[in-house]
């Protein structure tokens, strides 16, 4: 077999020597490496960001999951612009096409400051209402921010946050990442470890490896397919998981001061979530509208059935608060 490969290389042509840690080869360049990436500078970091719709319209800040995913899989949310909303997307620091930093750099306060910075950057007046639309980790971040600043945000749509206290997050992760030990999915996730290794600061390698690993997600979460992404953020993913394990955060202690109604979405096909977990996680909010998206899994906003079933409810919720 090895000889066949060598012969194939000899006659079929090997490409030029490529470097695995060079952005642009296996993963795209980030905003600080490629000036064509739309970006804003917030707190000394270039964040990949875009905004659509009328600048003065009620603002929806879309918060992607992960940690370490990006907003590409939530671009359906642009549809709110047709109803006069200003829709703001950004890749969180260290994720997607935003700038990378060392692991020690990442704290929750950094994320709060970035989010405040993004809101300030796009807000055209102090009276412009700001809503959050957070999915998964993004819904956790939205809640953590509201818990930190309970009077700033006019409303929040939360799609299956793992939990708002760390124990709930751990419970959800353990249910959602079930793999059969003899399955192809497990082998696909781990066998590549002998082919590709990288140092803690070799982001292109680590991000690429994470993309290979997360492509084989558990069937427990009920998605219809694989969601698109630009580039995973491996260091930020590990940083926030380690931070959670270490600090066991509780992002609920101030939520009783948050008075607007929250729209809390869970999906019918995510076996790891379900009504009981949705009720448990959402119960810390004073007023909650619980909604079950039929015909969809965890990424209910990314696929047509889930989006079509959820969009009217989200729109009605936003219209009631704008």
């Amino acid at each position: 077999m090895a000889i066949a490969i060598l012969i194939s290389c000899m006659f079929g042509g090997c490409d030029t020597e490529l470097r695995i840690n060079e952005s642009g080869n296996l993963v795209p360049k980030t905003a600080d490496q490629d000036p064509s990436v739309p970006a804003i500078k917030i707190n000394n970091a270039l964040l990949h960001a875009e905004a659509f719709g009328p600048p003065a319209g009620p603002m929806i800040v879309v918060l992607h999951g992960g940690p370490g995913a990006d907003y590409r899989y939530l671009l359906n949310c642009k549809e709110f612009t047709n109803q006069g909303y200003r829709v703001v997307f950004y890749d969180q620091r260290g994720a997607g096409l935003s700038q990378r930093f060392p692991k020690s750099h990442y704290t929750m306060q950094v994320l709060y400051d970035d989010l405040s910075g993004v809101i300030s950057y796009y807000r055209t007046s102090p009276t412009q209402k700001v809503f959050f639309l957070g999915h998964s980790w993004g819904a956790m971040l939205a809640s953590a921010y509201i818990n930190q600043y309970p009077t700033v945000i006019s409303g929040a749509i939360l799609g299956e946050p793992g939990g708002l206290i760390w124990k709930d997050v751990e419970d959800y992760i353990s249910r959602s990442r079930k793999f059969e030990p003899l399955s192809e999915t497990l082998s696909d996730a781990v066998y590549a470890d002998q082919f590709i290794t990288g140092k803690e600061d070799e982001h292109a390698i680590l991000d690429y490896k994470l993309m290979l690993q997360v492509s084989g997600e558990s069937s427990e979460i009920g998605n219809e397919g694989k969601v698109p992404a630009w580039r995973s953020g491996a260091v930020t993913f590990n940083a926030y998981l380690e931070l959670g394990d270490k600090e066991k955060p509780n992002w609920t202690n101030n939520l009783n001061r948050y008075t607007p109604k929250v729209l809390f979405i869970y999906s019918a096909n995510n076996k790891a979530y379900g009504l009981s977990h949705a009720q448990k996680v959402s119960s810390v909010y004073a007023t909650v509208q619980l909604f079950k998206t039929e015909g969809a899994g965890h990424d209910m906003l990314s696929f047509p059935i889930g989006w079509n079933n959820t969009y009217p409810v989200m729109l009605a919720y936003l219209n009631s608060l704008k």
């Binding site: 290389c9 470890d193 290794t197």
Partner: protein, 237 residues
């Protein structure tokens, strides 16, 4: 010759040379776990089956050939596949030599070197890698049993990446396929032990894995293997 092939050969050449040296100078060699004290000079062939965790749940078979020489040397080939429904999408082959370097009473020191060809495929990419594995083993060997410590280094020297349309459509349209040099390496360290009876050995290996930079680890940072050797006598002429 393509300049790219020269780059490839630059890394493969030293491994090939070492392997060829052992093949020629000793007429023949092997990488199974071995109880050197129980291995008799007339036990020329060793067939093995093994299973365990080697970056994934894997199963494999090996064949070893003992060379007639003063220094005990085994040539060996090994083939293993990880668990999964798509049987030959992922596999690892090794070919190389294992030799006892030094013996003092019941303490013995051995080493091995292997060339590796391995393949990995998932819905996003197909990887084909040429690599090498070097290992040093020091232990206490008795005819019926042994226990030893081992340290190894597995280098993924050159890897060919071929991405699927799914990767281009869902992730990165401009991804560059081709040969990447080098792509990784892992150190391993652990223990091996075995029990020998009649023509058979039952063996166990356990240990940890850390990447070559010592700052990161594989997803599952350990290995474990149980294997069975059956030794066949040299056929008399």
């Amino acid at each position: 010759m393509y300049p790219q092939l020269i780059i490839l050969m630059k890394f493969i050449k030293p491994i090939l040379l070492i392997l060829i040296f052992f093949f020629l100078s000793t007429k023949n060699s092997y990488s199974q776990t071995v109880n050197w004290e129980s291995l008799k000079s007339d036990q020329k062939h060793i067939v093995s089956a093994h299973a365990g965790w080697d970056y994934a749940i894997v199963y494999g078979v090996s064949y070893g050939y003992q060379i007639k020489s003063k220094m005990p040397i085994l040539l060996n080939v090994d083939f293993s596949i990880p668990a999964g429904e798509k049987v030959l999408e992922d596999f690892k082959t090794k070919i190389g030599a294992q030799f006892r370097l030094y013996k003092i009473n019941h303490f013995q020191f051995s080493a091995s070197i292997h060339g590796i060809y391995r393949r990995y495929e998932n819905p996003l990419v197909r990887l084909q890698n040429f690599g090498s594995e070097m290992k040093g083993i020091a232990g206490y060997y008795k005819p019926k049993w042994f226990v030893a410590a081992e340290v190894g280094f597995d280098k993924a020297i050159v890897t060919h990446f071929k991405h699927s349309n799914l990767y281009r459509e869902n992730y990165y349209a401009d991804v560059k396929d081709g040969w990447y040099i080098p792509t990784g390496g892992n150190f391993s360290y652990g223990l091996q032990a075995g029990y020998s009876f009649k023509k058979s050995d039952i063996l166990l290996r356990l240990g940890s894995v850390v990447t070559q930079n010592f700052s990161t680890k594989p997803t599952i940072p350990f290995y474990a293997e149980i294997s069975y050797n059956f030794k066949i006598l040299r056929v008399s002429k």
